[in-house]
Amino acid sequence: MLTVEKLSVKAGERLILDEVSLTIPAGETHILMGPNGSGKSTLLRVIMGLGDLEVVSGRIIFQGRDVTKLPIDERARLGIGLAMQHSPSLPEVTLKGLAQVLGDRYKNDWRSLATALNCDYLLERGLNDRFSGGESKRAELLQLLIQRPQLLLVDEPESGVDLVNIAVVGKALHQLLKQGKIKDREHSGLVITHTGHILNYLNADQGYVMINGKLVCEGNPRDLFEEISKHGFEGCVACAECKRR
């Protein structure tokens, strides 16, 4: 589904990603962990094509196609979707207005999805305009459920969300990634998590640890999370056995 090949990325003069490589096969969900400022969000943003990031070297291959230089909207239409950690506020665009546009485009019943996500009362409001953390996440997931991307990039789904809403977010991600029966799995995901709560809702296949723009370790996501919980990211750096295979 997605292959990132030796991707190096600069923001201004600063190297943010340093020869990052990973592969996510169809139907798999991978987890990305790492300390603040390690480049995790940048990786998701550059896969989506966002912002003033300069790809210095390397490639992003999505479903066999090099998308490294494609504009954001083309990547989205090919099937890449992004749930941001902090979505910008768009007071001018109501959630309903956007849901309608997306519903028409992707031929989806946005109304029933809005009800299922408890978003009905948010529909007439400006997008993310004074939304709480949970509201913002649910509004974001509503858009993604209408869009139904093949590859879902999720940046810290738990951030700013209370325990009740984590369950809602977790279930929606489960639905988006079609993680019902293993044989039906076609949708892939790359999910950033700090707290690991979201692991309770997802069948994650692979985990990575990113430090200073490099993927320094990979393995079973639950094992990785357990190690990090015990020893912190310093432990990862120190771990001689954690060289990438």
């Binding site: 989506m48 966002l50 912002g51 504009p71 954001i72 909207d73 989205a76 239409r77 979707g81 992004l82 941001m84 979505s87 910008p88 768009l90 007071p91 001018e92 665009v93 109501t94 207005g97 956007l98 546009v101 997306l102 485009r105 992707y106 400006g126 858009q143 869009q147």
Partner: protein, 418 residues
């Protein structure tokens, strides 16, 4: 009768005299120009034409005037100085009166009591010129208790190059009545320059409701100076929707609503797209005099090309129980455009009055456009959705015709690229 005529003559003389004195007085706001340039023989009331050609019908339609008069209760159309429509459709006979102001002044002596009562004749040279060279304008009266469901329409059209219109309109919504007026001001495509001076006085009587929607559709080198006053009695309400989407050389207006009656309400909604080299100075004034009066003035402006847009707003409270809100929001669509927002709040011996304002001016956020693009919208679609929303959000109950105009405008801006 003779005495009445003599009194009217005296009033007329006094007004002419005051106007003559003010004929060189610059406007309080806006760029200055000499209205005398546009006073010529062409714009005399000549009665040459009695019908709209097919081409002019299209022009009228663009400003919201339906020449077929379908779904309209009454119609008034003035081309240059000629009155082509002044008609009430059958069903609304006895509920609405519509005619040229000249005819109305002849028919009703009492109308002089409403003449120059909410706008000062000597406010500036533009009011003075309107009085000195006035030709036409409409008189619309909604009779007591009449509930007029279908809109009343009016159109002031200009077809003469370098000509001018100097109209004085009076609208009276009598006690307990309600109506909606859709009014368009427009030029035919071959006209490049000219001037429009329009004085409009609204009288909204006790318990009446009046909604007035004005679409401005001028030529690129046009000079426009509307002067508007609204007087509201007890429990009266007035909504003014103003939309300007086409380029115009210079336009300055600052309508004033006087909320005299207890519990009267007024709302000004303005949607402005400044284009080309337009110089726009647009505002509104709400004077909250009566107890429990409520006011709102909401403007949305987008400045494109080299346009200069100034948004004003002034709330004046004289009553402790008055509440009003002012909101000016501007979006810059080009590097060369200029925009300024000047909100003013003033409380006069009413320490418990509640006035507030919100003003913001800025470009479209790149982050917002990219966010929508992550959902598969093209850059043009994302821009259009943002502009469309920006122009309409916060403005309640926009008539359908304006909704469509704003949508088309947003689409055309984004297609042209930012």
């Amino acid at each position: 009768m003779r005495r009445v005529q003599a009194e009217i003559k005296k009033v007329q003389e006094r007004l002419k005299e005051a106007a003559w004195e003010a004929r060189e007085k610059p406007g309080a706001y806006g760029d200055d120009f000499d209205p005398a340039v546009f006073i010529n023989d062409h714009s005399e009331l000549n009665g040459r034409e009695r019908e709209l050609s097919a081409k002019l019908r299209e022009v009228a339609l663009l400003s919201g005037f339906d020449p077929e008069e379908k779904q309209r209760s009454a119609s008034y159309l003035q081309k240059d100085a000629d009155v082509l429509y002044e008609k009430v459709t059958g069903l609304y006979d006895g509920q609405v009166e519509i005619m040229s102001i000249e005819r109305a002044l002849e028919e009703y002596d009492w109308l002089w009591d409403y003449w120059w009562k909410t706008v000062d004749v000597d406010a500036d040279k533009f009011t003075a010129y309107t009085e000195l060279y006035q030709k036409g304008g409409y008189f619309i009266r909604i009779l007591p208790g009449a509930k007029v469901e279908l809109p009343i329409q009016s159109c002031l059209m200009m077809s003469e190059q370098e000509g001018s219109q100097r109209v004085h309109n009076i609208v009276i919504a009598e006690e307990g009545s309600s109506a909606e007026i859709v009014s368009g001001c427009t030029t035919v495509p071959q006209v490049e320059t000219g001037m429009h001076l329009g004085v409009t006085e609204f009288y909204v009587k006790k318990g009446a409701h009046l909604s007035f929607t004005m679409v401005h559709n001028w030529a690129e080198n046009f000079y426009v100076r509307p002067r508007t006053g609204v007087l509201l009695e007890e429990d009266a309400s007035f909504i003014n929707n103003y939309i300007l989407l086409k380029p115009v050389k210079s336009l300055q207006t600052n309508p004033r609503a006087i909320l005299k009656g207890r519990r009267s309400r007024a709302r000004f909604n303005s949607i402005i797209h400044g284009r080309a080299g337009s110089i726009l100075d647009l505002g509104s004034v709400l004077e909250l005099i009566g107890e429990e009066t409520r006011g709102e003035a909401i403007s949305r402006a987008a400045a494109d090309d080299q346009a200069q847009v100034l948004m004003r707003g002034k709330l004046l409270a004289y009553s402790n129980s008055a509440q009003a809100r002012l909101e000016c929001k501007g979006m810059l669509l080009s590097e060369e455009a200029r925009m300024q927002a000047i909100p003013e709040l003033e409380v006069i011996k009413a320490p418990r009055a509640d006035l507030n304002h919100e003003a913001a001016v800025g470009p479209i956020s790149r982050e917002a456009i990219e966010y929508l693009m992550t959902r598969g919208l093209t850059e043009e679609e994302a821009t259009s959705l943002i502009i469309q929303g920006f122009m309409k959000v916060g403005i309640d109950g926009l008539p359908e015709i304006l909704e469509k105009m704003v949508d088309e405008m947003a689409k055309s801006i984004s297609e042209g690229g930012l």
